[in-house]
Amino acid sequence: MPGGMDLKNEVFQSSTCALCGACLDWCPYIANMEDHLVMRFDCNVGEGRCYAVCPRTYADWQAIGDRYLPDTPRNIEIGPYFNVFRVKAAAGIKGQQDGGTVSNLVKTIMEDELAQAVLLTGSEDHVTPEPFLAVDIDDIEKAAGSRFLASPGLRKIIEAQANKVQKLAVVGRPCQIQALRKMDFNRRPDKPPLDLITIGLFCMWSLGWDFNEYLQKNFPGEKILSLGIPQHGFVVKTDKGEHILPLDEVKKFNKAGCGYCLDMTSELADISVGAFEAEKGWNTVIVRSAKGQELLDKAVEKDYLICADYPEEELNRLKGASIGKKNRNLNNIQAAFDKGVKPFIDLNSEMYAQVRKLAEGMVK
């Protein structure tokens, strides 16, 4: 396995980095501020953990899926799953993004002590993401709502390990769930396996931190309360009112690395949560493992969550959106490889051929 300078050359310099944060660990060479993640000094270590865990270096994702979700029925569009539900919190939580499902799953984990800490991402300004290890139910509210700026939250894994956390739950973007799986998949044989519960978010893209400056420039002096992407655009709620930005304007701030991402629904998570587009105040929940199903059941049992059937046409719409992202970004990946970026997936595999076929069918 190659090392830090290879990561620099293949990932940082080709701007494919997803800013998941997995490589940071305790490495003294890789440094991060805001959405910059760089090699601050040249590393001379030939073989690096950073390279082994990065979701943008080569991985056999099918083999990784087979390891962690062995019994789950396969699906090309949205990844392996048992069930898809429509879910929302019975009693809402302040600041929740959609149905408040994630926050209530986290609450269940804490109450039932399914993990000793939960990696969440919050911040008081509701814009900049600050990852932290939550151990207290009161911490959940601090993270309610989506921060659409990319953040290397997995840098907190090292802190969890230093604090001797044996069972950890993580709420993360798809790239972060991928990295967590890869971390375990490529772990050194003398290291114990990671004991994780993974709650994956849906994610089409994340934004660069210059978007924050854009907000400050456009809405000077206003205190931002939330950001959201309902159907009609990008909504910025502030203490002075509600502003709607055209989505195309916001997309200009997309993190370059998101253009190489093939995962919209956190396909390797125990349970994935996103918006339910057809009705405000609900979430889409994809159950992918027995662990995920148990967690959902517990939350429903406690009357924290209400769970309902998922409409067929919505599932088709969801799958269509996922295939759309995969197909778009496969094109980007192809173009990057053509330009000399070192291949990090096998573009000729059967799976990607099927994605292309499905996407073509959609266009017709």
Binding site: W26, C27, P28, Y29, A31, N32, M33, H36, V38, M39, R40, F41, C43, N44, V45, G48, R49
Partner: protein
């Protein structure tokens, strides 16, 4: 040594350093005023005069820069006080305007300017030959060939200066300044004249009306030099070749002639008055031969002036050899006895049979550990360069860094992670940054930084700062404030609060100066690597001119002042070569105190070298570096 330069023992001989001899010469001439800006190899002169100032009834100052120093001497000279001005060759370029102007106004009290050249630029960025300035400004220049002459020429320089009413220059080279030989002392004056009253119609003005007077003075100097005892010929009446030489070249040539047994074939014409040349004296001797070899340090200055004389004197039928063209002698770099002897052997077809000087046979040579130039242990510059480098990398804007002159010039090498993109002269960094920072209007996006030390800030950055502020350039000016002119040996400067004479002075605050100019100023501690990195990162986002003062005391001063804490590596915690950090502490941080324990395969602190700054503690990913006891830093 101070007791030697003030010893009232006429006729007594001491082994003296050239710089001591110069100070002694000035004291024998009865100077009452001395001003200098530090610079190797000249720095010891004013330091010594500062220490003996009170005792010897004179005033000495470390001026803020060389122009301040020279013009201060002009002020003293106006009141007929004898003054000594000292600088290195770079400084002479700084005072170019003052020098050319002063040669028009002339002087009243004797004024000698000692300028020390640094052949091969051992402690400079260039090896400029200061003799060009004497010729260009039309000023007489003396060049001592040994320590005795260094003393005598400085002393005589005052008589000459007052006779001509002109500034007199004395040029030395490193081997004269720092070498030692015996010097016989002269008398120290019992009384020194007081400053005179400046009358309503007394003038000392530099204006071109006085050009004729200036030319007359240099012509008069020439005729005085024709009979000067500092010029002499030794050798046969019809030599095969005459060596014309000055300064250290005279010593090397005399040795070579002896060693090769050429005393009967080669004559040596030693010139102590290198500008203007004693033309008749030179012609008289060159008529004796057909071949002339010129041996001198740095540029073929003497050589080409002799070429000029030959051109005006068709009676001279000689072949002229020297450094010009690099054929007879190397065109570049410091000379030494071997180079001169080998040249002479080649030109005369003689073989040298004696032992090689200064060459130790490889089997006897003690292997010195290969050491690269780096900052001292605990030096705040190491932390400053580390954090600036990482901030620029993290910021990903490819920041451009304009360096400057001082200890921190080393930051352009490995010790400073090759941070600089640009290096010119003192004060050059901020001006280049001002220019580049104006290119934002044409779409230039990279952040622009300039660095300067605290001494350099006062020396030559103030006009640059005013310029950058007034024109609102987009740049970050970083002052590396270690409260010292450490490079040249801790001479005090206006920010320190102490004068050359050891008196307390009110220190001038860099922060207040920059704020008064209107700059937003941030002061940060370079030892707080992560906190200061965030500050620099934020500053780089802001448009316009920003000033950042990275303040932390020079480690060499700190050790003298505070009890040293113990820093050590807990080898249980250090993961050694298994770590994956790639020996970050010793390899990247690179403090001489962080070393590798090859036996244990772990990191270690060299507790003799370590000064206990504790910065490496915050850099070890395993938290293996520990500290206990001692006082806090700066």
């Amino acid at each position: 040594m101070e007791w030697m330069i003030t010893a009232d023992e006429p006729g007594r001989t001491y082994l003296m350093q050239g710089n001591e001899a110069i100070a002694r010469g000035a004291l024998e001439a009865g100077i009452r005023f001395a001003a200098a800006y530090p610079g190797s190899p000249s720095s010891e002169i004013l330091a010594m005069l500062g220490h003996v100032a009170e005792k010897m009834d004179l005033y000495a100052e470390w001026s803020t820069n060389e122009t301040c120093a020279l013009e201060a001497c002009l002020g003293a000279s106006f009141a007929r006080v004898r003054s000594l001005c000292i600088m290195k060759q770079n400084g002479l370029l700084v005072v170019g305007d003052a020098l050319h102007s002063a040669s028009l106004s002339g002087v009243k009290g004797g004024l000698v300017l000692v300028v020390a050249d640094d052949p091969s630029a051992h402690s400079s960025t260039n090896e400029f030959d200061s003799r060009h300035q004497a010729r260009s400004a039309g000023l007489p220049m003396l060049e001592p060939a040994n320590m005795q002459e260094a003393k005598d020429m400085v002393k005589w320089g005052y008589e000459l200066s007052e006779q001509l009413q002109q500034l007199v220059m004395v040029r030395t080279v490193t081997r004269i300044n720092h070498g030692r030989s015996s010097v016989s002392l002269g008398e120290l004056p019992k009384e020194k004249p007081d400053p005179v009253t400046i009358g309503e119609w007394d003038r000392m003005v530099a204006i071109n009306w006085f050009k004729d007077a200036q030319i007359a003075k240099i012509d008069q100097a020439k005729s005085i030099f024709e009979t000067s005892p500092f010029n002499e010929y030794k050798g046969p009446e019809e030599p095969d070749m005459i060596i014309v030489t000055c300064g250290t070249g005279w010593l090397y040539s005399s040795e070579a002639v002896e060693a090769l047994g050429l005393r009967d074939r080669i004559g040596i014409l030693k010139i102590g008055t290198t500008y203007p040349l004693p033309e008749d004296f030179i012609v008289k001797h060159l008529l004796k031969t057909k071949k002339v070899l010129v041996i001198e340090e740095v540029d073929p200055f003497l050589e080409q002036n002799i070429a000029g004389i030959i051109a005006y004197h068709p009676e001279l039928q000689v072949e002229l050899l020297g450094r010009y063209g690099g054929k007879a002698m190397p065109r570049n770099g410091e000379l030494n006895p071997d180079i001169v002897r080998n040249t002479l052997a080649r030109l005369t077809g003689t073989a040298f049979t004696g032992p090689e000087t200064a060459v130790i046979p490889p089997e006897e040579a003690v292997a010195l550990p290969a050491r690269e130039l780096t900052f001292c242990a605990g030096c705040p510059h190491r932390a400053s360069f580390f954090l600036l480098k990482q901030t620029l990398r993290i910021q990903e804007g490819q920041g451009v860094v304009m360096g400057d002159i001082g200890c921190y010039t080393m930051g352009g090498q490995r010790a400073g992670h090759y941070l600089y993109n640009f290096l010119c002269c003192m004060g050059g960094g901020i001006n280049a940054a001002e220019g580049m920072g104006q290119l934002t209007r044409f779409g230039f996006k990279q952040p622009v930084l300039a660095l300067a030390g605290d001494s350099t800030f006062f020396h030559s950055c103030l006009p640059g700062l005013v310029n950058a502020k007034y024109h609102d350039s987009n740049m970050l000016f970083v002052v590396l404030d270690n409260s010292a002119t450490a490079m040249t040996g801790f001479q005090p400067h206006p920010g320190i609060g102490q004068t050359a004479m050891g008196k307390a002075a009110e220190p001038i605050s860099i922060k207040k100066v920059a704020e008064a100019i209107g700059c937003p100023v941030t002061v940060a501690d370079p030892f707080d690597i992560s906190g200061t990195t965030s500050k620099v990162y934020d500053l780089l986002k802001q448009p316009g001119l920003k000033v950042l003062i990275l303040k932390q005391e020079c480690a060499t001063l700190v050790v003298r002042k505070r009890e040293k804490p113990r820093v050590w590596v807990d080898q249980e915690l250090c993961r050694g070569d298994d770590c994956g950090c790639g020996r970050f502490c010793s390899r990247i941080w690179g403090c001489p105190g962080n070393i590798w324990d090859y036996e244990a395969g772990k990191a270690k602190i060299d507790e003799v070298v370590c000064v206990g700054c504790g910065v490496c503690i915050s850099l070890c990913p395993a938290g293996a570096i520990k500290m206990e006891g001692g006082g806090a830093c700066g």
